[in-house]
Amino acid sequence: MTGGGEGGRGGRGESLAAALGEIVGARHVRTALPERITYARDGLPTHRRVPGVVVLPGSRDEVVAVVRLLAALGVPFVPRGAGTGLSGGALANDDAVLMVLTRLNRILAIDPRNRIAVVEPGVVNVRLSAAAAPHGLYYSPDPSSQTACTIGGNVAENAGGPHCLKYGVTATHVLGLEVVLADGQVVELGSPGGEPWGPDLVGLFVGSEGNFGIATRIRVRLLPVPRAIRTLLADFSALRTAGEAVSAVIASGIVPAALEMMDQSCINAVEDSVYAAGYPRDAAAVLLVELDGCREEAVAADADTIAGILRAHGARDVLSAADAKQRERLWQGRKKAFGAMGRLSRDLVVQDAVVPRSSLPDVLEAIGRIAAAYGLTVSNVFHAGDGNLHPNISFDGRVPGLKARVDQASGEIMAVCIAAGGTITGEHGIGLDKLRYMPLIFDGDALAAMRAVRLVFDPLERVNPGKVVPVHACREWSGVRSAQWGVRSAADRDRSSNSALRIPHSAFES
């Protein structure tokens, strides 16, 4: 698109940029290489793509106009929020336009009576809770990146977070969506109260990683701020014991708001950083358990029960945060653990997989063996209550051959999780990074079904192309004539022939 990859811009790229500039204003179109390079990665360091053009629309109408222009030109595009994703999902090739939605950052409505908010996609997650706080409400999904990530990105990825154990992931909290489809058509999905209007298209859209279109308005459920909170820190002398304690807590019938685990490598990284939380360095693992609710006496009693269970299952000590300050400190260590691990080495791969909770002890030991076999540092910090693992591999990408070893180790870790009955991602998404694992958990029919659904929303596969579903692994599907081309009809085929996807740079021949 830029006529010279990373090297510079051709005349065709300039004409597209000029057309985009007429819609959003020239200063919101980025064409210079140094500017485009700043969008070449997301939160995962192992994938890099330099987009052809970056455009930052400032309103829903501008989004629609941009999408319609790109549809007319047959140019693929990639929606992006704050770029904190961890799957390479919001990266665009140089034949595509990267549409950054951070300027759509208005909280459009907060309805305290019905506990609902309506936001634009670029609203930063934590800002919504701050805005809802005067009404005694908050937005529950709390990914670790919540001070930076956007709710639009959360919707695309169906983001989770520590407190999703009790309150559910993003999909649980999204009631309705206004979406712009690939052809620029605006469609409202769901209903104001959250009841699906027909089939559950809101549920289908959430987590579709931008492949079904762009959510321009998002209606979410807010929850009452808990009046009572207890935060416990339990430390263990063995990883396995900590994993077994997780199962015991879950089986108790008391659902903690959060149940997080950190291993010794992670504990030390945190304690060496400015986020030091007072975690015991000699522990093989700590569990951070939070209970919340609206009744002080019930939360206190449940916390006592859980503390007893933790002790009975091998906790050396169970500390209860004495006040809000200590609680915040304990949580800061957990939430900033990924940042703290940045100290361990130059690069960090944050992995994401889910296993049945009862298999946590075995899987954690297997991950330890894989790390040792490859000579890698793997730190575990994760949502233990959900069985949602985050084995993080620290490495220096400049060392020859090391990246390949990290890749192999990641693959083996995924294989262990799949063998345990788990899945390859619980909250980070497939993006580019996990395309290769998709055939390990879905057969050709399941993958083809996903692709066929995508074609309903985006018949030419122009929105965030090349992500989520590995096309080569799809079995033939009725109406989808060719797995490679995804052509559904003669009309589609004719239109496809102008797509910049397969004939790079053709979009500018006008």
């Binding site: 019938g253 609710g293 879905f442």
Partner: protein, 403 residues
């Protein structure tokens, strides 16, 4: 070769029972998900129209079809994992049997769908019919980890998984749950369970609808967090007046604290039920809906519940109503006409409230449709999805009406 002979050749003699349906449609009971796929693949090739049945206790088995596919032999529960709080069950298992097996392992599926106790799991999932517990534990979709379904052309499609979180690929489970079978036949369901609540207490209050609606608001304002919070019409509650039934389920400490908060918020007016009384109340209310010819649900904003109930009363009567005012969900049961349902759906659509027809005789379903009055642009998406999953139009489902 006749259709019946063809099916016998495909699935074996014991899978076919010709004489049992009232309308003479051959009923076929495949014994495995693969057999369902084989049957529907053949149906697509032969151009057979297939209606799907479960235990026959919810949707009437009256859709015109060449054959009826019943899931009743898909009644196995391959896995219950109390430690993981998950289970895998085939779609034809009755909810009562499943509930018993789960309880034996100390686990609980926090769903109390309308209908008879033996209603199949597949029916509940396909119609997304949650009951009063939707207030505290969410919609049907919130209890699903994954499903496997067979498309109208006989493909076995697996979606989701059996772990607590999963964002691998698009979430086709959401399409299957509440799709009324339009996108395929659900054959296997992976469930998210809870530990059996240590305490379970129901309290009730009778009064006028207006009075109880005010109490419901006071309860919400006091941040009481019930598992169920249901306003029932007198006929449904089998009382003289309307009833507000509040249920708490969880740890003993939680239930006791919430009950105290409820009493404080309501001036101590609620009466606590014994466990057997509570069981009878909730079960009768659920079963009552299976005795009415038409059932539908509407979903609005919580603060519009009263207005919506007025509207229902005015247009179709309010004899059988069960409402969760805390989340704006209302279920209606009774007798009514196609014209009234169409008019009501149009009126509700103007208020941005969808009406989903849950059960009705075929002529009503066919005319009104389970869904309708979509917002602009939604219809083509639904039609596209339907073509994707049932390209030969083999599955007889009244997705939209004929208006």
């Amino acid at each position: 070769m006749s259709l019946v002979d063809r099916v016998r050749a495909l699935l074996g003699d014991d899978a076919v029972d010709v004489a049992t349906t009232p309308d003479g449609v051959p009923r076929v009971a495949p014994g495995s998900p693969d057999a369902v796929a084989l049957l529907l693949g053949t149906a697509r090739e032969e151009g057979w129209r297939v209606r799907v049945e479960g235990a026959g206790t919810w949707l009437p088995a009256d859709a015109p079809a060449d054959l009826a596919l019943t899931t009743r032999r898909l009644d196995k529960v391959p896995a219950i994992e109390p430690q993981d709080l998950s289970a895998t069950a085939e779609a034809g298992i009755g909810c009562d049997l499943l509930r018993q097996q789960l309880a034996d392992g100390g686990t609980w599926l926090a769903l109390d769908p309308p209908g008879l106790a033996g209603r199949t799991l597949g029916s509940v999932v396909a119609t997304a019919t949650a009951g009063p517990l939707r207030q505290g534990f969410g919609a049907v979709r919130d209890h699903l980890l994954g499903v496997t379904f067979v498309t109208g052309d006989g493909r076995l499609v697996q979606s989701g998984g059996r772990v607590m979180k999963n964002v691998a690929g698009y979430d086709l489970t959401k399409l299957a749950a509440g799709g009324f079978g339009a996108f395929g036949v659900i054959v296997l369901v992976h469930l998210r369970l809870r530990a059996l609540p240590r305490a379970d207490q129901t309290l009730v209050l009778e009064g006028s609808r207006e009075d109880l609606a005010q109490v419901a608001e006071d309860i919400a304002a006091a941040a009481v967090q019930p598992a169920a919070h249901e306003l029932m019409s007198p006929a449904l509650a089998r009382r003289e007046r309307w009833m507000l039934a509040v249920r708490f389920a969880g740890s003993a400490a939680l239930v006791s604290a919430e009950e105290a908060a409820l009493r404080a918020a309501s001036g101590g007016r609620f009466t606590a039920l014994r466990a057997d009384e509570a069981h009878a109340l909730w079960m009768r209310a659920a079963e009552s809906f299976a005795t009415r010819p038409v059932t539908f649900r509407v979903g609005g904003l919580p603060d519009s519940s009263d207005e919506l109930m007025d509207l229902l009363q005015h247009q179709v009567g309010d004899e059988w109503i069960s409402a969760s005012p805390g989340i704006g969900a209302i279920r209606w049961g009774g007798e009514t006409t196609v014209d009234r349902l169409r008019r009501l759906r149009r009126t509700l659509a103007g208020l941005e409230v969808p009406l989903t027809l849950e059960r009705a005789p075929w002529p009503v379903r066919a005319a009104v449709g389970h869904f309708g009055a979509y917002r602009e642009g939604v219809g083509p998406l639904v039609a596209g999805l339907r073509r994707t999953f049932d390209p030969g139009d083999a599955l007889v489902v009244a997705v939209e009406g004929t208006e």
